[in-house]
């Protein structure tokens, strides 16, 4: 991936506030699962069953520890004719989408993201595999980006 990242240009990052959104989205199910697993050893009085909540807790802490890096790894770049999107630290994924291939753009706001004034932008093409979802954009930015993408796509429209 170094070849792509070293192309001289810089990546647009998502809002730092998105870190909190991501942390909370990980934390809630993590705490619920760990809490649920604690019930097992207490109820059954089998000591080694404490392994389950312990493992769950360790995984949760690891995921939380990596979250800042994972959020920083999300980036996108608007080039002249296409959009490049990347994410992932262990499993890298970089996708390039020509604007002309855009079918529609969605702006979604989840409850947690909305509390932080953030929105996510989904770039939909005729291919499901494209899967370009840019999370953690400030709402105003998401909407201006959406409008800009629509204009760009309109000027580079291609027949399906």
């Amino acid at each position: 991936m170094t070849g792509i990242a070293a192309a001289g240009e810089t990546w647009q990052r998502v809002s730092p506030r998105y870190l909190w959104v991501d942390l909370i989205t990980v934390l809630i199910p993590g705490v619920v699962i760990t809490g649920g697993l604690v019930v097992a050893p207490i109820a059954s009085r089998i000591a080694w069953l404490w392994v389950l909540p312990a493992a769950s807790f360790v995984i949760l802490v690891l995921v939380l520890a990596f979250t800042p890096r994972r959020v920083r790894a999300i980036g996108y770049r608007l080039r002249e004719d296409d959009l490049i999107f990347r994410r992932g630290i262990m499993w890298h994924r970089v996708v390039a989408v020509p604007y002309g291939r855009m079918q529609l753009v969605d702006v979604n706001r989840g409850p947690i993201a909305r509390a932080f004034g953030l929105a996510e932008l989904k770039f939909v093409t005729a291919a499901v595999a494209t899967g370009v979802v840019i999370p953690g954009l400030p709402e105003a930015e998401a909407e201006s980006l959406r409008d800009r993408l629509v204009v760009l796509a309109e000027s580079r429209r291609a027949a399906l």
Binding site: M1, T2, G3, I4, D81, D82, M90, W91, H92, R93, V94, V95, A96, V97, P98, G100, R101, T125, A126, A127, V128, A129, T130, V132, R156, A158, A159, L160
Partner: protein
């Protein structure tokens, strides 16, 4: 282009439609009644066999006790069914204008859908056996996007051909005018564009209708011009052989299991026979469906016909193929056979069973035939000579195929080659690439390998190749994106 098809008037479907649609239900009910009353009929004609209770079934007994009421209910149901069928037939109309095709249906829930003719992805004519006997056919017009097909079931056979010709003419109008500007010879349309003249007295029309029906049945597709120019002649033997080889191992295992089971536990035969029928029936259906296969180029696009009893005849307008996959199962190697499947931008992929056939445009063919079929879709494609293949260190993840696993380009197409034993070659026209991704994971990164995924519309063909050298992969990713931008029209 004004044909008799694009007249902008609302038309109804084939009058026998409700009967054809509901026919199976009616037959099922009749069948049930006959089975139930068999004993009664036998009893009436031969006299009740002594010592045997003829109507143990509570349903039958009830029916016999209240025969007047039962008759009334049956009659009422019949009237309701026929009335509803007739109403829904009255309400189901369609029309074709110069730009649109529209369909209105529904008695209680009205539905109105319209599609733009220039977005037509393909037109299929399907003739299931039963409607086919009555000279009816189903016309499926697939549009781009999900849930986007318009189905007219049923229309008269000749009308279906006429509609298809008209719709396709409109859909490929642009290409057609280009061809004429080039001074290329423009072929007359194969289907009867003009309605057959209906003159003559009633009796001669009736006779004519019967003769026409018989002719339609014998030469089901009105496809003489197509069959004659078909690029591939499919021998039934080859089809059987290829199917047997493709499922061969599984079928042999099933057979061996069945034989063993029969020897040791003969009473299990009642279970085994249905299983055998199921497995071999599936293979037989595969063969039957592909019999009478033909493929040819028409001015409206590629026309593919297949099927012996229920026939399907579909047309792909030019430039609507998003990915092509040539594949060769292991046991086809000695014979040099290949199969060709495609991705296209229509909803039919999701429709299940029938759609399976839609994606296979050549069930089995020799390498020459395969290349001819590919040549229809991508006219100036030649197999690239040198592929960029995986590096030697990739042999740990591609044990046998690392020497073959790779990609190549030409101006318009990207070609992915995979597999040592089960070989596939995937072609994606660069003008149809939706987006392109590159991925790696912890393990492959340590080996400096990466995977490139060429995103096309959803379908059976997945265009991706892994275990490439990371630098090669990045180069390929860039090239595809640049060329895809360049190839966009």
């Amino acid at each position: 282009m004004t044909t008799s098809v694009a007249d902008g008037e609302w038309h109804r479907l084939y009058p026998a439609t409700p009967f054809l649609r509901g026919g199976i239900v009616v037959i099922a009910i009749l069948g049930y009644l006959i089975v139930q009353f068999r004993d009664v009929f036998i009893g009436i004609f031969i006299g009740t066999v002594a010592g045997r209770e003829p109507h143990e079934d509570p349903m039958t007994r009830w029916l016999l006790e209240h025969s007047a009421l039962a008759l009334l209910i049956v009659f009422g149901l019949l009237v309701a069914i026929i009335g509803f069928g007739w109403l829904s037939w009255r309400m189901h109309t369609y029309r074709v204008t110069d730009e649109l095709i529209e369909e209105r249906e529904g008695v209680i829930w009205r539905r109105h859908r319209r599609g733009r003719l220039d977005r037509v992805q393909g037109v299929d004519i399907v003739r299931p056996l039963f409607p086919r006997i009555f000279g009816a056919a189903r016309l499926e017009i697939s549009m781009a996007g999900s849930d986007g097909s318009i189905r007219l079931s049923y229309v008269a056979s000749a009308r279906a051909d006429e509609l298809r010709a008209g719709i396709l003419a409109a859909a490929s109008l642009r290409r057609r005018t280009e061809a004429q500007e080039d001074g290329a010879e423009s072929h007359p349309l194969p289907g009867p564009l003009h309605p057959p003249e209906d003159s003559g007295t009633r009796t001669s029309r009736l006779q004519g209708a019967i003769v026409a029906r018989a002719n339609e049945f014998l030469t089901p597709e009105l496809r003489e011009p197509v069959a004659a120019s078909s690029l591939v002649t499919m021998h039934p033997g080859r089809l059987v052989g290829a199917t047997a080889l493709r499922f061969g191992t599984a079928m042999l295992l099933v057979l061996a299991g069945a034989v063993l089971a029969t020897i040791y536990r003969p009473e299990l035969l009642f279970v085994i026979i249905p299983i055998l029928i199921g497995v071999y029936g599936f293979a037989a259906r595969e063969v039957l469906r592909s019999l009478q296969y033909s493929i040819a180029s028409t001015p409206d696009g590629i026309r593919i016909g297949y099927g012996l009893l229920s026939t399907t005849n579909e047309t792909l307008p030019p430039g609507r193929v998003h990915a092509i996959e040539l594949s060769q199962p292991l046991f086809w190697r000695p014979f040099g056979w290949w199969r060709v499947r495609i991705n296209r931008a229509s909803a039919s992929v999701r429709d299940g069973g029938a759609a399976q056939a839609n994606t296979t445009i050549l069930p089995v063919g020799t390498i020459e035939e395969t290349l001819r079929v590919v040549g229809l879709i991508l006219p100036d494609w030649t197999e690239p000579a040198d592929f960029t293949v995986s590096p030697r260190r990739a042999r740990w993840v591609r044990w046998f195929s690392w020497r073959r696993n790779g990609f190549a380009f030409d101006d318009r197409t990207v070609v992915l080659r995979r597999g040592r034993f089960w070989r596939t070659l995937t072609l994606v026209p660069l003008a149809r690439v939706q987006s392109v991704g590159i991925e790696d994971g912890p393990l492959t990164r340590a080996m400096r390998l990466a995977r490139v995924d060429v995103h096309t519309v959803v379908g059976v063909v997945r265009a991706r190749v892994g275990a490439l050298d990371a630098q090669d992969a990045v180069g390929m990713w860039r090239d595809i994106e640049t060329r895809a931008l360049g190839a966009m029209t």
